[in-house]
């Protein structure tokens, strides 16, 4: 079985394992206060051009989302997001467990607009019963979204402007950030996120770390006592250095040459972006094969997630050899599936899939 169902089927960049082994018996203090974490923080602040940012390392995305939202909201406040947003759909109510309502906004492509946010906020404050309703206080967006789409820098700037005008925090979930930053159409980079949002994270789990998300807080209001919250959420890793070491390996330029890498990506100055470019290149090959067959998409995008609409028989046939992710029924005989590439996708697997797509009788 060849897995294209998600972007976390393999372990980690070999360099990460090599460094874990090389440093294994060193003694460090725990809970993220060690030198490996400090190094990763320095790299991240520099890459984000945000020298005053607080940087924390958490193990996973749901944990990061819930902890950040808990830090930002008082109990009667809620998080605006696309109805398809991860916090609204795929976290088993983690945000609600901590007492907060997720306020879903309609969205066809996984994105929400500055106008939607403004209207939701204005509707709230002008409602005669506003005190009987959850107060919008934070906007959650994903870059790329759960449907692989990207906000442009202009869209992000507009959202940021509306948020700041209305006193809303802007939080960007970057679980797949590297796959967004590597996309052809992308014009949003780390310094943009640091400048335009109040808090965001750089996803590691899906981009070649064993696990880990690097939370970058630029708004001072959200910085205070954040480590208490990490601990309370059960998200403070005892051997915190494992996270620091992984992020310095992914984002630090000097770790690009630890392993013998022949084909360094144009422009990819670290493993994080190298993995991103690799996944996009592989995804584009699959898109080409799909396009050649005239296959349409549930939502079009140019990141590492592809959502083709296929006849149910074709899906069944492909599923004998490939693990795909079922997305949703489109009509009585067609469904959308998700095909993911990643930092680890093998050319031979892509070749096989493309060949089989071309052979499909559709």
């Amino acid at each position: 079985m060849i897995y294209f169902n998600c972007d976390y089927n393999e372990g980690a960049h070999p360099e990460i394992l090599a460094r874990l082994s090389a440093t294994n018996m060193e003694q460090t203090i725990g809970y993220g206060c060690d030198e490996y974490c400090e190094e990763a923080r320095r790299i991240i602040r520099r890459e984000c051009q945000a020298p005053d940012a607080d940087v924390h390392f958490l193990v996973g995305g749901t944990q990061a989302n819930a902890t950040i939202i808990l830090a930002a909201l008082r109990s009667y406040q809620g998080a605006l997001c696309a109805q398809s947003g991860h916090i609204n759909v795929h976290e088993t109510g983690a945000v609600e467990l901590d007492g907060h309502k997720v306020l879903g906004l309609p969205s066809a492509d996984g994105k929400i607009t500055a106008q939607q946010i403004d209207e939701a906020y204005q509707a709230h404050i002008h409602d005669a019963s506003f005190e009987h309703m959850v107060q919008p206080k934070l906007v959650y967006i994903s870059q790329p979204t759960e449907l692989g789409t990207l906000y442009t820098r202009a869209e992000l700037a507009e959202i940021s402007k509306v948020c700041r005008a209305n006193g809303l925090y802007l939080f960007v979930d970057g679980a797949r950030l590297g796959y967004g930053m590597a996309a052809d159409s992308n014009d949003v980079f780390l310094p943009d996120l640091a400048q335009l949002s109040d808090v965001f994270y750089i996803g590691g789990t899906k981009l070649g770390a064993l696990f880990g998300e690097a939370v970058v807080i630029t708004n001072d209001e959200l910085k205070k006592d954040f480590r208490y919250l990490i601990k309370q959420k059960g998200a403070m890793l005892a051997k915190g250095r494992l996270l620091g070491l992984q992020f310095s390996t992914l984002l630090g330029e000097k770790y690009m040459d630890v392993a013998s890498v022949a084909d360094i990506e144009k422009g990819a100055k670290n493993l994080y972006m190298k993995g991103g470019y690799h996944a996009i290149r592989q995804a584009n090959q699959i898109r080409e094969a799909l396009n050649h067959k005239g296959i349409t998409y549930l939502v079009a995008n140019d990141t590492n997630q592809i959502f083709p609409v296929l006849p149910d028989e074709a899906i069944q046939e492909l599923s004998e050899k490939y693990c795909l992710s079922y997305q949703e029924r489109v009509d009585e005989t067609h469904s959308a599936v998700r095909i993911c590439t990643s930092w680890a996708t093998k050319q031979e697997d892509v070749d096989a899939l493309c060949e089989d797509l071309r052979r499909l009788d559709i």
Copy 2:
């Protein structure tokens, strides 16, 4: 200013105040364990034909909703309801505060269908990522709904059947139950609710009590330790007898003649239904005046809430004399308002409003 904005502008049926005064200096034990509460429980069990039901008295609706849902759900479970449901819109996230997600279903008239519920449940259990999603476990409906519409007995029976087949609790919010039971089209009465739901409540606040909702639990699974939950939610009234006395006065036949009442309603054997029939009669007079002008409704119904769509100028004009409740914008020049009648609505006020509606230049 004449108030038609809601159904809780006045105090209580005078009989309630008379009995409060007559019993004022009696000493009773607290927290709902007194003889007044016991009498009210006996009356309610009899009226519901539910001799084994547990009956608890809470002060208000939001409190009752949150306490019942807390009793029914484990943390990862959620409540299905119409997107317009009170728990989803007008309780400032009270359900979420206790850790539970409200799972809104689309609805044009405030009602949801058995089919919607079944589809939501089936979609959950058949989703490959079901453990990553909130598990539907309770269905919340209001009778009448927030838009004044009513479930028929057949609809309720079908919903009940789907719930039981899928292991979902059915909870009916009866904050305005009396106004539903008094409507011409209604065929759902207390024994139906007791038989078809797992828990429901008989609203007192909006039907002539100073305050109070009588929660009726028929499903044994929801009975255990409910009083702990009432206390934990800050909902256990020290002088609990105030609630028992009010409900026995509203629902007991013998309290109909405490005050000199000339016009006992046909069929109204207690103050609760007398107040219900009165409000419906008044509402129907207003509907007649609206219909005469050819005015349409946001949603049509025959209970005590009327949602006419009016020109904005007309609303402004009426608002100088009447307090109405703004509902929503319909188009650039029209909005829907809510006009409520109640057990306490005066004929002279209805006459004045009808006269003014007839005079409107529309």
Copy 3:
């Protein structure tokens, strides 16, 4: 059965019922925004000499405690209090339900000291693992305490000073405040509480209201959005005027003469203090009878709660005629009980109890 078990066995001051009846059919807006609430707020601000205080009316004490603490704390912060504090013992974990830990401090008499508070705070901030521990952020005390004892003005000032020095909120639960202010030894009055605490409440339920606690917020940080929290906690009474009317009746000077009252207390310029002085006078008669028999107390105090240590046989004998509240076992043959007087205690009942106490064979 004669009830001395608590101070909420009866209804309300007859003047309250009279005013409820007199205003019953008036129409007002809901949720505490009516003129009755405004009048009560004006009276309370004046009595507290706190013209900028926010005043909110809640139905009960547990509800008030939980709502205030929810307003004051972030999730990882906790409330310091005596281990015997109501929030720690008798609220079924209402504070914990909202996510906060109660940090109990040892106390023999229901009081805690400024030194204890300071030590707890210093211990926290100087612990190397402070981020792994709940951060103390609020101090909860009761005046009088659950054991009937009183803080002196000097003690309260010292606690206030320590709290302000350490950034802790000081919250005073005044569920029985009137019985404290009426005690011979008391030197803490409303302006003192307004000046020295950040938030406190004036208890109505136990002092002759049907129900109700008046929350007085003097610290601006706690004022913001408090009404959202009231609603989210299910604590916003629809017919809010019932609370306003009761507090204006209790605290407004002009309502002293609504009923024909012959024996106005020396210094009692409102019903609230009149009820307080009455209860203290009755309690002191009972104390005299107990003292005459050489009976000792679990904790000595001069408020309306008396905690005599009695032989178990005596308790059993008294319990045939009187409802007392069992407090705790003292030794193999003795227990402490609680005897409460109230605004409503009848002289004849006190006489009977004193007579029976004198006759006890101990």
Copy 4:
């Protein structure tokens, strides 16, 4: 600096890293449903002699504790534990965040007794105000305790009996279980825990895993829907196989010889126990040095945590070379510190510490 402050200063058993590297580019499904987790589950069920147990792998201890307690308790129920219990002291209120009160019982040595538990339960159910108090429903103990002490099998059996008689769940936190099972005095092994408790976990983080705790649920009531809870708590690791692989390496016999190990412990048939025996042997050398100087202990035990009471000057002197953990002040000139050994402690470091202890001028 030589670290004796805790047992998680280093990385992992080299065999773990070797296997992670060897399997790195394999593709597996996520979230703990892969074959590595299945293998680990089989090993654990066999070692526990509990073929029907559910086994889940979580990343850390606080996370495991909170998730298990959330699974076990309804909102008004609480967890009995020693006041020194980890959930009561060092988890920043993680249990309270999910709505539950921790009910601390006094304890001098970190242990609680069956009698204490029974008395707490009996006191609750016989209190007239029981519904106003948090209901004890779960007992949390640690083996070894936070003070390094151990429950004997007889003590554990007695606690288990009391719990079952009173309907309380027994939950054993085994964060340091291997150091308990390797102690000379220990007679509690995995099958005992599986038989006597309802749920426990085998700690990996402190015993040579990079991270991870293996939760073993034997009571069917706690099994249902546990994976929903793991996800909701943000505790479901995407690359779940990392946990499975670590636990099979630690607990599977066949992984003992992956690395060239000369000195396999007598009786240690897997890396988990090998690491445990190693730590105990090192700790005992340090104890010998302390005993030789006549140094006393805050609490005596024979596991891997040592709590000597030392003069403050001695602590200061040792701290220049060794990182110790400050425990508490004992008197004006003495404090207790914690010295930890672990699976990774080097003989040369122990030798150095022992030598320096012998040289201390005390």
